[in-house]
Symmetry: C2
Subunit: 344 residues, 2 copies
């Protein structure tokens, strides 16, 4: 079958082995898979990511990704069930499903985000664990259902932040994670929600998804905009850009006692001034991903229409155009979320 792979730092489309579902697994046709900013980061900074992952302690060791071999990516997917593996209880063929991007094999959970050995979302077909499948209600566009994953990332960041009614929020960056955070904050009754992005299109999307104000950071800093609009409520800043310097900038602008929540997956070394954090008693809270309940909740919010993720989808491409889509996404004035549709 056909799949896009990361090979020698380039995204290329090639013929790969057909995935075969084992016991407890299901073969699905990938109907839609969103391109994530972390995939773009990984293309440029994968070696650093792999090295840091191996250097740090305190997390279960996992097989390192080998950049000398093809790397499969694509973790925001919606698939259609084709067939179940041996002795596997699964939804009938034709059912639309999604799943957290992992395989559950016994007690072992293997990530599908960056993998040498499994099929992932940037391909015609992939294997999922039956125990992790969530059925997508009838009538939902697979591309919309594929937004479950980035929405769950945003809702998790909001949950972990501990923000509550009566607080205010500044969201730095209106990519898919920033937009998902905005949607979660709006649902939680936070006001005002100030969003920042260089792109006029993304600022418009931020307003459509629930921000009360969206500013261009070249003109007005996000915290300054919060001061203009409010300036009194306890503030939580969400750093959803993920490039060096963003945390330092937020620390310099934030008022005393601000919590800076960081879901932006910056893979580069960053510089901070601890004295600023100390004098203002700031907290930097790094967050990642979601748990199973948050993922299911995100799908539910999409299915019931509670959160409309459609404004964030700005493009759809076939497998052959993934490399071009990666390039386009590096210019955020053109796109927010591009969805790959391998069979469209």
């Amino acid at each position: 079958m056909k799949a896009a792979v990361l090979r020698g730092g380039q995204i290329v489309v090639d013929e790969v082995d057909e995935p075969v579902p084992g016991p407890g697994e299901v073969l699905v046709a990938v109907r839609a898979c969103g391109i994530c900013g972390s995939d773009l980061h990984f293309v440029h900074h994968g070696a650093r990511f792999v090295q840091l992952s191996s250097e740090m302690r305190g997390v279960p060791t996992r097989p390192a990704v080998d950049l000398g071999r093809d790397v499969r990516m694509g973790h925001e997917f919606c698939g259609e069930v084709l067939e179940a593996g041996p002795d596997t209880d699964a939804p009938p063929p034709g059912t639309l499903v999604t799943s957290i991007p992992a395989l559950q094999r016994g007690a072992e959970r293997t990530s599908l985000s960056f993998t040498n050995d499994e099929a992932a979302g940037y391909g015609e077909r992939m294997v999922l664990s039956a125990s992790l499948l969530l059925e997508v209600p009838a009538g939902i566009d697979p591309a919309i259902a594929a937004m479950t994953e980035p929405l769950a990332v945003g809702l998790h960041a909001v949950n972990r932040s501990g923000i509550q009614a009566g607080d205010a929020a500044v969201v730095l960056g209106c990519g898919p994670v920033g937009l998902s955070i905005i949607a979660g904050l709006r649902r939680g009754g936070i006001e005002p929600i100030v969003a920042t992005d260089y792109s006029p299109a993304r600022r418009a999307t931020a307003l459509a998804m629930g921000a009360h104000e969206a500013v261009d950071p070249t003109t007005e800093d996000g915290v300054a905009a919060w001061r203009r609009l409010d300036g009194r409520r306890p503030l939580v800043v969400f750093e959803a850009v993920g490039v060096p310097g963003m945390i330092d900038g937020a620390m310099r602008e934030a008022p005393r006692n601000t919590r800076i929540v960081v879901p932006g997956l910056c893979m580069e070394t960053d510089v901070i001034q601890p004295v600023i954090g100390i004098l203002k008693e700031l907290t930097i809270q790094f967050v990642v991903a979601y748990d199973g309940d948050e993922f299911a909740g995100a799908l539910d919010s999409i299915a019931t229409g509670e959160i409309d993720v459609s404004p964030m989808i700005t493009g759809r491409v076939g497998l052959d155009d993934i490399a071009q889509a990666f390039d386009d996404l590096a210019r955020p004035d053109r796109h927010t979320k591009v969805v790959v549709e391998p069979h469209a």
Copy 2:
């Protein structure tokens, strides 16, 4: 009168103007004043500290310290009341007092930590605000009472961390702040408390003040020691060293979901790897100082004997020997806390 001042990057002792108490103020003879690590940092990195303070927003602007003029320091003091200013209700002469290091003039609160215009603790006499005075109970050694301030810093860090019974703690650095944190953790029933310091003498003091284990980080990392002793309880790491690289090191070693509390006043630029924070969902919580209740509580803990701060005092010097004491404190194998006794 005689005082030590920071002049052109050097600590020098000189004749300075006699301080005069205004309305609501009290003139005291400084009986003891501890030398704080932040004073040592300020001698070397004062210019950077002043610049960063001026660059950051979100805190009330305060008069910048002018390094081109004499800077007065000394904020861990115990004094003896000499006379009250005009129309001032104050304890009788001879009363031992301490205070948070600030003057309250109307709504304005002026810090005495680094100041061009006020007398501070490294001098024969200083002025304090009557409204902020705390009487030191009879029989307490002024040098012990002067430890109220660093103890309050440590107790505040413990309070802010949210650590609770059932959690474990690693304290990086057994200077006065680290030791005060250890005392606060022990009082709160935290177990195990693992302390780290290069100095055998400081490790012994850590054990005397409540640590269950004290390790040399050249031999065993603090988090590794926690793994050996416990490895299961939720962990809070306190970074009480305050030099570049400590936060990065703690992030690399810490287990998932660790809170890293940072009271160490690092005045230099520091480097972190955000990806490590994100993959482990770490929180970096910067803290500083204390509130009035915490300061009063620290004095009370000393006065009642609940916390014995005497092991941290390793030296006493007169005003003329402050510069030498600063040099000695830069070699932490010799000293923990040196107290200046201007009238001894």
